[in-house]
């Protein structure tokens, strides 16, 4: 059986940073990624990051990904397995995976789960028509492969993802007919919303999609206004001719491996669903199993990278590697606190409070 000191599952922003931090301290690291390239969502993020300079503010996601990839490939302690999907974590600590049509088994001393999140879906009539995409899929088509999803888009969701992807669609020459959100307020940053509004795209709050229509693919959508109890108001229906409906209605943590490993799980609405309980160094209730990034609670890439730092340092420290780990951990936790200090961080702090509270858990 192959062994390693640290296994990092997932090569997005959190996993890449976790692998770098653990390996730089001397631990032997295996990093797995199911895609054929590292970077996770960073490879489709063309916008400049906010936050502090330390967290690459002002850089575009695509460039941050390249920078991290450079650090990974320069470190001989790291083995990268792309096109490798982790399938299961067993009671004896063995992790199984599939790569290049082969079944692999690995026994790590520490495991860091950085599997990210998946997009939420929305119930409405005909929501299975071709032409209805998750916002991540639209970004992949446009920004990775240079292919437009269609000609005229209805964006559902006025959070940061809905706003940013709308702007990216416009940069790719695609018309955005409208952005709708069921909430009475725009959820994303006003700086993004203003850019879109200046370009003449209406952002309709307190609006929902009743149904999509079309024979073989989307030809249009029926919208309606919502009252203060979130119910559609009769007589307010609008018919919008679009060939793409893009859903930007939130993300859920990908926690299958945490469930299987036997982590204590808790439902935290602020984090997008069930997440493993963890201590401040991101170790779950299963000793030696850490979680970082969206898998531990949906947030954003800057925080995911800092969490990767925390998990990577903590895993290395527990194996006896590294100097001044306590200082490095303190600095990382302080950076997290700073990132979450703005109004956007309130939701995360509320979620964390619930997660750290004692009380009933899912299992």
């Amino acid at each position: 059986m192959r062994e390693t000191e640290v296994l990092v599952v997932g090569g997005g922003p959190a996993g890449m940073v976790a692998a770098i931090e653990a390996a730089e301290r001397g631990a032997k690291v295996v990093l797995t990624e199911r895609d054929d390239r590292l970077g996770g969502q960073l490879i489709k993020q063309t916008h400049k990051f906010f936050g502090s300079q330390k967290q690459y503010a002002g850089s575009r996601g695509i460039d941050i990904s390249k920078l991290l990839e450079g650090k990974l490939s320069n470190n001989s302690n790291i083995e990268i397995l792309t096109e490798t999907t982790v399938l299961g974590i067993y009671e004896d600590g063995v992790v199984t995976m599939e790569g290049a049509d082969k079944h692999l088994k690995l026994k790590p001393k520490r495991t860091i789960i950085a599997t990210g999140a998946s997009e939420k879906f929305l119930p409405f009539a005909n929501n299975d028509l071709p032409g209805i995409y998750g916002a991540g899929a639209v970004q992949t088509l446009m920004n990775v492969y240079g292919v437009t999803p269609g000609q005229r888009v209805l964006m559902v969701g006025a959070g940061n993802i809905g706003l940013i992807v709308s702007y990216q669609l416009m940069q790719s020459g695609v018309e955005v007919a409208a952005i709708i959100d069921a909430a009475p307020k725009i959820g994303g940053y006003l700086v993004h919303a203003s850019k879109i509004r200046r370009a003449g795209v209406p952002i309709l709050t307190s609006h929902t999609i009743l149904n999509a229509y079309g024979q073989e693919f989307v030809e249009g959508a029926i919208l309606a206004s919502l009252d203060d109890k979130w119910q559609p108001i009769a007589g307010t229906e609008k018919d919008l001719t679009v060939d793409v409906i893009c859903l930007a209605v939130g993300l859920s943590p990908l926690t299958e491996l945490c469930w299987q490993a036997g982590c204590e799980m808790k439902y935290i609405p602020e984090f997008g669903g069930y997440v493993p309980r963890k201590n401040e160094f991101l170790e779950t209730t299963v000793p030696g199993l850490y979680v970082c990034g969206d898998a531990g609670g949906v947030e954003e890439a800057s925080a995911a990278m800092v969490e990767g730092r925390v998990a990577g340092i903590a895993a290395a420290e527990s194996l006896g590697y590294g100097l001044n780990n306590v200082q490095a951990l303190k600095a990382a936790l302080k950076d997290l606190e700073e990132l979450r200090s703005g109004p956007a961080g309130e939701k995360i702090l509320k979620g964390l409070e619930k997660l750290l509270a004692k009380g009933e858990t899912a299992c």
Binding site: D128, L129, P130, Y133, G134, T140, L141, Y145, V147
Partner: protein, 102 residues
């Protein structure tokens, strides 16, 4: 449609490849997924649902949702949103659950 001018990105497309969609020859580029090449050719209906035979297209583009299963070189249930294009590939719309080649 393919994006030719972009304010931030430049697309370094690989070499041109030919593949077949339901017998019809289509061009794509190496390095891209089957789904991206089909989309660029305006093809959005990739499969049909098992029970009601509703048309299905791409939804997640990262191999999570199984909305894009097609028959590729005789093998059913291939997630074309993550499967890379190869020269001469035969890609077909899948009907039903698909059968493994004998």
């Amino acid at each position: 449609m393919r994006i030719e001018n972009h304010p931030i990105l430049s697309f370094n497309r690989g070499k041109t490849l030919s593949f077949f969609f339901n017998g019809e020859e289509i061009k794509g580029y190496s390095g891209e997924t089957i789904a991206a090449a089909l989309h660029a050719a305006g093809i959005k209906v990739l499969s049909h649902s098992h029970e009601f035979h509703h048309p299905r297209g791409l939804f997640c583009a990262i191999g999570n949702c199984s909305s894009c299963l097609m028959v590729v070189d005789g093998q059913p249930n291939v997630r074309v949103c993550v499967e890379k294009l190869r020269e001469g590939m035969r890609v077909e719309t899948q009907k039903g659950k698909g059968c493994l080649a004998q």
